[in-house]
């Protein structure tokens, strides 16, 4: 693929949540949930965002679809049809709503993300209603087509069911159909398969990859599971306490991790092979909430390879070590 402008380009994105305390709920400090991250996603590619609980991956996802407003930074999204690039971070009102046609999200828990009082048809057609696309019969046709594509067939037997009449895997398929019905170019998927059982999960993962090819959609795939990320994504970015510490092509990242945190993370993943001897790299301590963190590297306290420089200087920037392998470490 030619090096076009990336579909999504994030620059210096930050999100601070105030920590309120005391009688008058005064704000004394901030949680730096997402602290100055840069990301690029090319059209038709899937970027995996991995990290442990509380590292800011879900916040990042919500910022990218503007379910949360960023504190600072830009999110440039290019509309491939119009060839326009817009900074999503500054959009308001009608323009923002128009942009929601291009950017959608799939959530983790299909038991919570579907309205229990709406039928499958109401749920999947809702984005079309909100965006005022098509007539009723066109909407019906589009919803039925999509249900067929996500494997809920025959669509006629699913259209008027309620979520409680569906299994977890079927619900997640409905959520996928809802995200894709208005033909977005970019979908943020927040742990879409982590609630599903293995025998169901593979089917949903296959479906998502298949639909990405068919519609030319790019995903930001948020997950804590490196094995799933390997399967789904061409590129992986590893997040630690609000910062991206490493980003590279999937196989490069897994076979040649350069950041000490990535190494520890990879070494801790159990391997489904009883004869494989894993040598886990142990790191000290636990993950802390990034409340008003210092300027030095966030991994400093736990890093097995830290030097004096890491403690004294500001956090290392994310730099290319060759071949698009970015690492933030001295």
């Amino acid at each position: 693929m030619a090096e076009n402008a990336p579909l999504v380009e994030v620059q210096g994105l930050r999100k601070l949540f105030p920590v309120e305390s005391g009688l008058f709920r005064q704000t004394h400090s901030f949680i730096h949930a997402v602290d100055g991250i840069d990301l690029k996603i090319q059209a038709g590619r899937t970027l995996g965002l991995v990290g442990e609980s509380g590292c800011g991956k879900t916040t990042t996802g919500k910022l990218l679809v503007r379910l949360l407003d960023p504190t600072e930074g830009s999110i440039y999204v290019t509309d491939p049809e119009l060839g326009q690039t817009v900074d999503l971070a500054g959009l308001k009102g009608r323009q923002l709503k128009a942009f929601r046609r291009r950017v959608q999200m799939i959530f983790q828990d299909p038991y919570e993300s579907l309205n229990p009082r709406r039928t499958v048809f109401d749920t999947v057609a809702e984005p079309l209603v909100v965006q005022d696309v098509g007539t009723l019969s066109e909407r019906e046709e589009r919803v039925a087509n999509l249900l067929q594509l996500v494997g809920l067939s025959p669509p006629s037997s699913f259209l008027f069911r309620f979520p409680h009449e569906l299994s977890g895997g079927q619900r997640q398929r409905v959520a996928i159909a809802r995200a894709l019905v208005i033909e977005p170019v970019f979908v943020v998927c927040d742990e879409p398969t982590s609630m599903l059982d293995v025998s169901i999960r593979t089917g949903v993962m296959e479906l998502m990859m298949d639909l990405a090819d068919r519609f030319g959609v790019s995903y930001l795939y948020i997950t804590h599971d490196l094995a799933v990320a390997r399967y789904m994504c061409q590129e992986i970015a590893v997040m630690y306490l609000g910062k991206i510490v490493e980003r590279a092509e999937t196989e490069e990242l897994l076979s040649n991790p350069l950041h000490p945190y990535t190494r520890a993370l990879i070494s801790a993943v159990p391997v489904p092979d009883p004869e494989y001897e894993r040598t886990a790299i142990e790191i000290e301590g636990g993950i802390a909430a990034p409340i008003d963190p210092g300027e030095q590297c966030r991994f400093y306290d736990r890093c097995p390879l830290r030097t004096d420089r890491c403690g004294l200087e500001d956090a290392p920037p994310l730099v290319d070590r060759g071949g698009g392998h970015y690492v933030a470490c001295f």
Binding site: M205, L226, A227, R230, E251, A264, V269, V271, P274
Partner: protein, 325 residues
């Protein structure tokens, strides 16, 4: 067989619901030897947790054990009266629960909760003696002794799980059942807990049952694996055999659907359909609606759970042929 600590024979258990009986565990049998770690693996609703709570007789009110025996050191737990079960619980079999958040009482200090368990079972022990045991247990699970007098909310998720392991060890049980002990934890923390459990098991020569949906976790900690599907045991053998030579089509599908970060990237197999509704389980083999090898026979009578040779138990009419790989 001399060292068999626990023997489960033909265990069958139902839950009574308004819609009818849910056949949660059906004719499940397995043995556990001293010092052995058995992994029970399967998807949600396959009956693995139901087996676990039958073992310590912590059944909800709507559960009924319809048949079978659970012998702990020769005594049938299912035949015991409630007061007799109380004696065996924690001293004979103890359990590490899934939700580390819910298993500790938030208004008591963690150390006191373990002391309480100890004093219930060993009323002759003085408080000071119990306290000493707690200190020793905290060392075993690598928790700082200062944490003994803290409350559960002051513990991180991983530390809480360690405290629960300490509690499970407190009365020196013969068998520990760990139900999804690391499921809610991040990988790095999970790794520490699994290592801890393995070390404790080695040191104390403990018999353990691990329950998990994650075959990668099971692969790391178990000597033997039992694969469960829809309330029945599908396959049971030593860990390497189950991974290298799965004979039941469900085991094979499960193994092929699991992604790994090691080895060549391969295409994952997709299993059609969904697990059955246990209110009305399919007749015959419960896997037949999803099985590529199913024949008319499979739809009628459930296959027996038999040794195919070399201590490899499989419940299937058409097991996958042994390969020479």
């Amino acid at each position: 067989m001399a060292d068999t600590v626990l023997s489960v024979q033909n265990l069958t258990m139902h839950y009574t619901t308004r819609k009818g009986d849910v056949s949660a565990v059906d004719d499940v049998s397995f043995d556990l030897e001293k010092g052995q770690a058995l992994g029970l693996v399967g998807e949600s609703g396959c009956g693995k947790t139901s087996v676990a709570i039958s073992l310590i007789r912590l059944l909800p009110e709507n559960a009924r054990i319809l048949g079978g025996h659970i012998y702990l050191d020769g005594t049938d737990i299912l035949a015991l009266s409630e007061p007799e079960v109380l004696k065996i619980r924690w001293t004979g079999i103890s359990m590490v629960f899934q939700g580390a958040m819910n298993a500790l009482n938030p208004v008591y200090r963690v150390g006191d909760q373990i002391v309480e368990a100890l004093q219930t079972h060993f009323p002759d022990k003085s408080r000071a003696e119990s306290r000493e045991i707690v200190e020793r247990l905290f060392r075993v699970v690598e928790l700082d002794a200062a944490m003994i007098d803290r409350y559960p909310h002051e513990f991180s998720g991983g530390m809480r799980q360690r405290a629960i392991i300490a509690m499970a060890l407190s009365c020196d049980p013969q068998v520990i059942v760990a139900d999804e002990p690391t499921t809610a934890l991040d990988v790095i923390v999970q790794d520490g807990i699994l290592k801890e459990l393995r070390e404790i098991q080695d040191e104390l020569d403990m018999a353990m049952i691990y329950i998990s949906h994650d075959i990668a976790v099971i692969a790391e900690v178990s000597d033997r694996i039992g694969v469960m599907y829809a309330g029945r045991m599908a396959e049971l053998s030593d860990t390497v055999t189950v991974f290298r030579q799965p004979r039941h089509p469900y085991t094979y599908a499960l193994m092929s659907a699991f992604p790994s970060i090691k080895g060549p990237k391969r295409k994952l197999a997709t299993l059609p359909g969904e697990p059955p509704d246990l209110l009305e389980p399919p007749p015959g083999c419960r896997f037949h609606p999803r099985c590529p090898r199913a024949t008319a026979e499979c739809r009628k009578v459930p296959p027996a759970f038999e040794d195919l040779g070399g201590d490899h138990f499989v419940a299937c009419y058409h097991p996958i042929e042994e390969s020479n790989g």
